[in-house]
Amino acid sequence: MNKLIVENLTKRFGDLVAVKNVSFNVKEGEFFSLLGPSGCGKTTTLRCIAGLETPDEGRIIIKDRDVTRLPPQERGVSLVFQEFAVFPHMTVYENLAFGLKVRKTPKEEIKKKVLEIAEILNLKESLSKIAGRLGLSEKQRIALGRSIIVEPEILLLDEPLTLVDAKVKEAMRRELRRLQRDLKITILYVTHDQLEAMMMSDRIAVMDAGRILQIGTPTEIYEDPKKVFVARFIGSPTINLLESKLITEKDEYALLIKDTEVKIHLGNTSERNVLSKHSGRELIVGIRPEDIDISKELEPGYHFSSTIEFIEMMGERMEVYLKLNEGYIRALTPLRTDLKEGNRVYVRIPLSKILLFEAGTEERIL
């Protein structure tokens, strides 16, 4: 059942079209994220849904009600900002109770609900404390509690974790997801951090320059990006993108990487008919660093050799920069002591992990 339907949403600010014809659905109980770089229109979209902005075109339907013309308080949404709204001079209890008080809920019911939420969010011991004096993660939980307690149809979150430090962020991402699962809340989440979106969402809409480029589950978007932008935006470290040309050699297809001697033979693939349409054309080869294999000895299946130009330590893994004519290709490997900068190694690019894009941005084969 669709909790939220957004149809052809368009919003302009003077000459700037911030949101262009955006459409998507959010199902009941789903965690849906709008993901994209700063300025892509995701926050504007959220604000239109919340009722803080009026769209120029399009409709917003929440639980079968067309709310496009309704003010925020009548839509049944709750919004949590980056600078989370916590009343500093009130106690935690009063903060949580606020929304219910405004709705004229009877006192006993308020008490019951506040205690419930406080239990879930681990705020029970802090109920009588003054909110302004508490730490960042408490304040966040209070803001979250305040928005959940009024039982909105849909909870809107605008990059709530951006100001939080790395360790707390990681913990919050897990807690938020669990909370959402347990309470079965429908959430629409806006973020620029792809890791965040991947970890928490049931489905993600990747946006750029006001448009939605792709909607899918995290796995779908990671494994099956439909555009170069999506492939590049998702995945850390960033995917390697190489310009190449699709050539035929002895009745088989191969990819010639631009400005190098490197040829990746595609062998006898099942996608011959697709490849035949692009024979001789320029294609962009996408390969994720984590999919590249490195070996110190030449083994069968390895495509070319290269020198290690640079190694970046990333805790339990290393990002190895391998020289490739003018630039380099990056590989992610577990911590290995046998690889040092300057070493000559052999590189293999598993065919099954290659993503091919037309040089005019489209996907072809996995």
Partner: protein, 365 residues
Amino acid sequence: MVYLEVKNISKKFGEVTVLRNISFEVNQGEIFAIAGPPGAGKTTLLKILAGLINPDEGVIYLEGRNITGISPSERNIGMVFEMPPVYPDRTGFENIAFPLRLQKLPKDKIEKRVYEIAELLGIKHLLNRIPTTYSGGEYQRVALARALVRNPRILLLDEPLRNLDAKIQESMRSWLKRIQRELKTTVIYSTHDPLDAMAIGDRVSILIDGSIKQLGSPTEVYSSPVSLEVAEYTSIPALNILKGKIREVDQNLVEIDINGILRIRKKLIKPITREFREKEVIIGIRPREIDISEVGPSENTVVCKLVLVQTIGSENLITVEIDRYLLRALSKKKLTLTEGSNIFLTLNPDRIYLFDPETGAALYF
């Protein structure tokens, strides 16, 4: 070659001790990373190094010279702090030229130097524009250019990537590393993110609660934490912490009883000291060292309940529950099970950390 030497720096603000007996050395041309949770004292330390704050105790030597009492402007230290000084009312050129103008350098020299630095950092196109038109990454680069234009002896960076989009942080960090290599500037880089520090630093120091808990290469600090605090801090996703008991089986083997959940046997690298036979210990396991599988048990395996699966692209972050404990694991495997079902958890006895419950110190044997 030791370039910067910091000895016994302490600082109190009122009743609160912010820095406690901080000592370390920085070599010329290296990137020295300081990682710590917010409030650990990183910014205070950097400000003391810059000369903006005076320490209560301690000395700072730069290139052999004692600079402890010297005013900031005479230290020739470049800085990029939380609100980098990129003034909105003037062009990129003017911003970068500012420190040189203060030095009253001749106009042509200033121009030459600014263009030099802009070329190096790839920001020539920003020189004629005003900062309100810059993107986040461009802003940081102009701030950096300004800090570098005077050829500082040391560059202090206080969480420089903080306000940037996650993706841009990645590229900026690589870019920073490459620029530093070319310029060979000595850099002190502070951040709240341990992974950030370990990725960029040639050496990393962990600053928690005002003192340096560990210092070493990123690999050292990561693989061989000296205490529970450090291991916990450097773990993202969060370290799994359990209690256990050691029992000596023979000279080379101990059995570790993890909370009654699992008993594993570990080969000793060196004999344990007397006090730890039959002792309670704290066990720390990094999520990546836990193996999750859907198939049957083998050694060192226990059954638990699958609570949550979150994907991070090539890996999955799995939360499991066992005996009221929640554990986190990172696995490359594709799981087909749904949440709530049973799943198998395997530990590698050589990859768990043991800590003394009283001191928190890591026990290696």
